[in-house]
Symmetry: C2
Subunit: 432 residues, 2 copies
Amino acid sequence: MKRSNLNIGIIGIGNIGLQVLKQLTLNSQLNKLFSVESVLVRDKQKYTKIISEDNEFKNEIDNVLEKITDNEDDFFSNNNIDILIELIGGIDPAYRYVKRALESKKHVVTANKDLIATHIEELLQLSKDNSVKLRFEGSVGAGIPIIEVLSDMLKQNQIKKITGIINGTSNYILSSMFENSSDFEDVLKEAQDLGFAESDPTNDVEGFDAKFKINILGSIAFGTRIPLETVYVKGISGVSNKDMNYAKEFGYNIKLLAITEKSSEGIYSNISPALVSLSQPISKVGGNYNAVEILGDLVGNLWIQGEGAGKNSTSSAVLGDLMGIYYRSSDDVNLSGNKENYLSKEEVMIRNYIRLSVEDKYGVLSEISGIFSKNEISIASVIQKDIDNDQDVVDLVIMTHDSKGVNFDIAIDSVSKISSVKEKPVVIRIND
Amino acid sequence: MKRSNLNIGIIGIGNIGLQVLKQLTLNSQLNKLFSVESVLVRDKQKYTKIISEDNEFKNEIDNVLEKITDNEDDFFSNNNIDILIELIGGIDPAYRYVKRALESKKHVVTANKDLIATHIEELLQLSKDNSVKLRFEGSVGAGIPIIEVLSDMLKQNQIKKITGIINGTSNYILSSMFENSSDFEDVLKEAQDLGFAESDPTNDVEGFDAKFKINILGSIAFGTRIPLETVYVKGISGVSNKDMNYAKEFGYNIKLLAITEKSSEGIYSNISPALVSLSQPISKVGGNYNAVEILGDLVGNLWIQGEGAGKNSTSSAVLGDLMGIYYRSSDDVNLSGNKENYLSKEEVMIRNYIRLSVEDKYGVLSEISGIFSKNEISIASVIQKDIDNDQDVVDLVIMTHDSKGVNFDIAIDSVSKISSVKEKPVVIRIND
């Protein structure tokens, strides 16, 4: 579509919403294409104050203040609004707002990953039924145009695999652990103090945020709605300073990888900490960056990296989506109803790093390797590390070749029951 | 635009053209949108043979062969052709063909960097005058969608700087010099034997290929036609194994960087070998990859990397351009007629690495640093390296702080005239 001017309704002016409102109000380039018609907030007084005190709005203050409303019905019955920008986050009431907008034939732009990952199929269908567009670039990797690049790329490529570092908090913590040999808990506390981690960090460090994001990317890449429950999720709270140091010693880093891939057997999606060779660029993605690698049959490996959070980067995505509505003639994302097979961790081949605390006595290694061998797991390397303690206990660090998940689980269960194995084995996948 | 089916004319079926023809003929996804109407070649017999012997065309052989023609007038008078794909490369006769197509209201897709860099303004104008589109994603970085990402990004961002590794041959040579401590000439010969460098490598190793590409990116980013003659160009043929080793010792790599940036003073574009800190991701871009970093005011640093050459990657770009014509409602690239100031190397601030061969005697360093100081150049570090020879000559490796190009040139000219300085000074810029 292309019209002389599109009218915007914004819901939510927190950090990102305020920046979007500023750009739409003050940037003369954007002004030519879009006008802000109405801004729905929960507390009119609070936001009137925030905007009044913001010097950047100075010359436009009356103009902006008269757009602010806290009346939901007024907002939704405003027929002048062509596009809704939803920036409140979370599922309720965002879900209700977005549905209401689509049903009344308004385009929707959102940066809400929870909402999109949970309701992508229904909302896309609703947008098609009402001949409007639904865009959500900011829901993954903020201003990194990953959804656009991916949707465009798959028009002429078969996508085989997507590998991403898409949770900023986890990447900050792991990067800091790698650089400073710190413990998870200490770095988490520091990240919380600096505002890089939330006071309840569960969503980030346990991988749920990354799960939503890889689900969105995988659904787009494979053109089908990947059920959220098929995504295997393991967070980084179990990654210790000791394992990070061993990884480093062996030429690896540990990163929280989000992976979705499609083989002839099915689609496998997972979030888990992984050993990544220091020779791979993904091992170098610094604390405040997100990165996504797309493997396509023609394009090969395509790598895109940028600032994966922040009001500026996210507002770049939101404004880019507005441009997409203005300039593009079709929706980018199409989900077929194709039935796909979804693989579990047990069904796929994975290489693993295992750290065992074992009694330093004759026959232990032989017993352990016997169990692996019986379960068709071949060992790539074993290193024994003396640790400084009174008991006669050493670390045994084992790296396996590719082995089937189900076999590995049986083997590690047997290993953990050996009497000489003193602690629960630590297992981290190796990404090759 | 969006139509049920667009008819394609292809000129040139070398490596890339043949892959594009295959995709358009055999890929059922592409088949739905595009039909190949005619293929213009210079030597009909030769290409009839090539196609007949290509097993992949087996089931479509008659269908494909009847499209091949060597009659230019037949090809151009075919009113069924909606889009011309030009894949012959070079300026003549590609320039004539592309103009002829645009004038007869056919869209054009090309991967021809020489043509686009030389005639971008005229060809874009011609496409606008005739209400058709001109797309050239494959002209920079093959399948990496850099032109699309850049054009989309600048709709909502002010682009400040683009930094790229965009010549595969040079990057292969420098990467190999870094990894194997080899000499430029040896690696070049090896690259030629492997087919990674042409028998006349001038265009690649002297920076002319990168100059065309950065000119295209800069013109798009700053919305103005950057005159080719304002791009400073220095190739990699002067980079020695010795300098690569010193760079490595000090924590740097040497890469051929293509940079274009806009400040309040003007636009400065340059191609030159540069010391890049090993902590920067650009220092790790491997031999067969291209990478481009875009700095935008909202999005921050955005990094995109992929396979910058090859028939598959380039055909992904060409097919992506076809999709762009199909799905996008407007041209992406707009050049204003804005007058800009263009800066020369003499006017900008640059940090430099300097290697001098000097007599190992009292007072030399003082004389040299005196000259730098007089020209307002402050020295960040000086390291003297004994070299194994009979004469009493040592290497003096100097790194400066930022200094103005014109001052630096005067200083280095004076330094080279000191009697104790035994060889022409080696100068390589440092990228921070």
